[in-house]
Structures are given as C-alpha cells and as structure tokens.
C-alpha cells in the first residue's frame, strides 16, 4: 500500500460519488450569492465586502466537506488496516488531505471567478485572490484534518469540528484577506502571500503529526 495508491483510491472514490464534491462547490456558490440579498446591491459596498465573503464562504465549504474525511474509512475498517500497512499513518493523512483538497479545494477556486463577477471584482484582483485561495484552502484542509481526526468516535463529532478548528483558521483568514485586499488596491501583496505560504508549510508538518496521534488513539 503506497502513498500513490491511497491518493489514487480516494480520487477514484470521490469521482464515483461526484455528488459529494458538487455539493461543496454548490454550497460555496449559493452562500456567497446570498449576501447581496442581505446587504443590498450597491456596487461600492459589494466590492468592499467581496474578499471577506468569498474567503469566509470558502472556509466554511472546506469545513463542511472535512467531517467525512476519516469517518468513512474508520467506520468500515479501512483505517484500521492502513495503520498496519508499511505506509506511516502521517503519510496516509497527507495523502487523504491532498486527495480531499484536489476534489473540494480546487473546485472552489475554479468557482471563485464566477462569484467575483457577481460582486463586480476587477479581473486584476483575481490574479492575487486565486493564488491566495490556493494556499489558503490547502492550509484550511490540513488544519481541518486535525479536527476531523480528533472527533472520530466522539458524540456529535460533526458539530464539534468547527468549534475546535475555527479559532485555528483565523490566521489563515486574516492573511488570506490581507493578500486579496492588497491585490485590489494594488498594495504590497508579497508579505501576506509569504506569510500564508509559511502557515501552509507549518501546517504541512503539524497536521499529519497531530492527526496521526489522534487516529492512533481512535484505533485503540
């Protein structure tokens, strides 16, 4: 059982159940399209809140799709056998998060330009927002994986994941929006993007480690 096999299998599973991936993107688009009804159609205001709305709805979409990340494999015994395989649990976590991000993170980024049009965002802003979202959704998936691993076997784990994970999402949110705002007002975009990638690299190390410990406890 190799890392390649884990990723390939998860992608195959996701592609055969397209509806799951589609619901994540639909949730993102619908929630983002909801705000103009609440706040009114004035272009100036919409432009001002566009980065915030897109990032928060993207964050919630990632969070929504994470709860099943380990639960399905835990319930049918696959996770138990993965623990026994020669592939360390940390790499299994990395593989599954990568597959999850490819299936749910990337479609969000593909859908973002459509939402940007709804909010009248200039095209130039997208050139900064998309890379920031690329880094951001990856970091969010990794942090969320820790929450998903910790709540396996917990009562009402689904509601618990946001409570555990949202405080840890705040730095990613702050620097994601900072980069996007800088992109719109063509300020200094390098600093926030650099910090965002630093957060991602940090989580690339911490998330598999923490999730691995959490999964081992769940398998006891």
């Amino acid at each position: 059982m190799t890392l390649k096999k884990v990723i390939a299998r998860d992608l195959r599973l996701a592609l055969r159940q397209k509806t799951d991936a589609a619901t994540v993107v639909l949730f993102f688009a619908l929630t983002a399209a909801l705000f103009p009804f609440a706040i009114g159609p004035e272009a100036a205001i919409l432009l001002r809140i566009a980065p915030g709305v897109i990032w928060v709805t993207a964050l919630l979409s990632v969070l929504l799709s994470l709860e099943r990340l380990f639960l399905a494999d835990f319930e049918d015994g696959t996770l138990e056998l993965m623990f026994l395989s020669s592939l360390p649990l940390e790499l299994v976590v990395f593989g599954k998060v990568l597959a999850h991000w490819l299936v749910s993170g990337l479609p969000l980024i593909v859908a973002t330009p459509l939402i940007a049009i709804l909010y009248g965002l200039p095209f130039a802003a997208l050139t900064v927002m998309l890379p920031a979202l690329l880094l951001g959704t990856a970091a969010l998936s990794l942090i969320g994986a820790i929450g998903a691993a910790l709540t396996i076997g917990a009562r009402r784990g689904g509601i618990l994941v946001p409570l555990l994970v949202l405080p840890l999402y705040i730095p990613v949110l702050i620097f994601g929006i900072a980069a996007t705002d800088a992109g719109i007002s063509d300020g200094a975009i390098k600093a926030p993007l650099m910090i965002l990638s630093a957060l991602l690299l940090g989580m690339l190390f911490v998330a598999p480690l923490a999730s691995g410990v959490a999964l081992r406890q769940a398998l006891e």
Binding site: L150, P171, A210
Partner: protein, 240 residues
C-alpha cells in the same frame, strides 16, 4: 503510574498543601484588594477606572498561564501516559476559561469610559476572545467521548496544537488590528508603571495564582474520585 494505581502519593501531598494554599490565597487576595482599592492612587488620566486593571491584568495573566499549564500537562499525558496529567488538564480547563471570560468582561468595563462602546476590536482583547474559544473547544472535546480516557488524550492533542497556534494567532491579530486602526489607549500594564500601582498588581497576581492552585487540587481530587466511580460501576456492571 498505572491507570488503576493508587494515587495515594498525590493525595497525601494535596491534602497537606490544601490548608496552606487556602490561607495563602485569602491572605494575598485580602492584601491585594486593600492595596488596589485604598492604598493606590487614581491615575492622572483615567481616574478611578484604573483600579479595574488590578483584576483585568491578573485575569489575563492567568488565562494564558493556565493554557500553557494545560499544554504542559497534555505533553506529559501523551509522552509518558501519566494519568495525573490528564486529570490536571481536565480540572484546569474550566478555571482558565473562566479567567479568559473575566478578562473580556473587565476589559470592556475598563475600556467603555474611554471608547464609549462596550467592545472594541483591540488586539489584546481580540486575542483573548480567541483564547476563550480555544478553551471552549478543549472542554467540549474533553467531554465528547463515552470513554473518558479517549477524551483526555484527544483534548491533550488539541491543547498542544492550540498552544503552538497561540503566538501565530497573537501575531496575526496584532498585524490585523494595526492594519485597521491605530494602537489602543490602554498603555498601563507595562512594568514601567510606578511602584505604587505595580505592587497591588503583583500581589493580586500572586493571589490569583494561589487561587488557581487551590481550586486545581480540589477539582483534581474530585476528578480522580469520578474516575474511580466510573471504574467501580463498570466492574460491578460486569460482575452483576
């Protein structure tokens, strides 16, 4: 120490310490209160409201100190599987959450005369708000499992992930708040304040720490007994 071991050693020390800690707490808080309310001068700029600092700042210290304490206990629990560390983390968490909430309340009470509103997204208050959410997450996860030992260890992992995120959160909130508004007004908690105000602050801080130690021991004793009750009722269930 074995999961079912007899925590006699801890209990002997705890029962010996408890009276001293209680006396120490009451004494410190009494002296601190007297100095804070009577013996220290009002601030030339803020007037009497500066007295709120004597409860606000120690609470903030305690909120952070207790989270670091929980993180250390969590590390002991995960690395050496020390059952007392689990019990300490579970006992300390609600106290820390209380102090974090207290800091938020006294902070807004202190800021209101200056800012005119009850809540300002000041960097320190916002970080404390996030810390408060971290505490709530830790307590929720601790109690979310049928089997308490799962709760202990899951919460331990969360506490460790949380503690390495605290500086990151602090840094990003500071960066965010300077981005959106100038530095806030409250500038008084640095050691530069004059001794007549520093001493009450330190004594109140010591009083809060002793209060935490006393309450921690009381709560750890009841948690150990709860673990014993769970074990006994399980054993009786099986033999019945």
């Amino acid at each position: 120490m074995h999961r079912f071991a007899n925590p006699a050693r801890f209990l002997r020390i705890a029962n010996a310490l408890l009276p001293w800690l209680t006396v120490g707490t009451v004494a410190c808080l009494g002296i601190g209160l007297y100095m804070a309310l009577f013996a220290s001068p009002p601030d030339y700029q803020q007037g009497e409201t500066v007295r709120i600092m004597y409860v606000h700042v120690p609470s903030a210290w305690m909120a952070l100190f207790i989270y670091v304490f929980i993180a250390i206990a969590s590390a002991c629990s995960l690395i050496w599987r020390h059952p007392l560390a689990d019990v300490a983390a579970k006992a300390a968490s609600p106290i820390g959450a209380g102090f974090a909430f207290l800091t938020l309340v006294t902070g807004s009470l202190w800021g209101e005369p200056m800012w005119g509103t009850w809540w300002v997204w000041d960097a320190r208050l916002t970080s404390m708000l996030v810390l408060f959410f971290l505490y709530l997450g830790h307590m929720a996860l601790m109690g979310a499992f049928e089997e308490q030992s799962r709760g202990y260890r899951a919460a331990a992992v969360l506490a460790l992930v949380g503690v390495i995120n605290i500086p990151i959160i602090k840094f990003s909130v500071d960066w965010w708040s300077t981005l959106h508004q100038p530095a806030s007004v409250i500038r008084l908690d640095g050691p530069t304040i004059d001794p007549s105000m520093l001493w009450p602050l330190l004594i109140m801080g010591l009083g809060f720490k002793l209060f935490f130690a006393t309450l921690l021991i009381v709560r750890m004793k009841s948690e150990l007994m709860a673990a014993r009750v769970r074990a006994l009722s399980l054993a009786q269930l099986r033999n019945a």
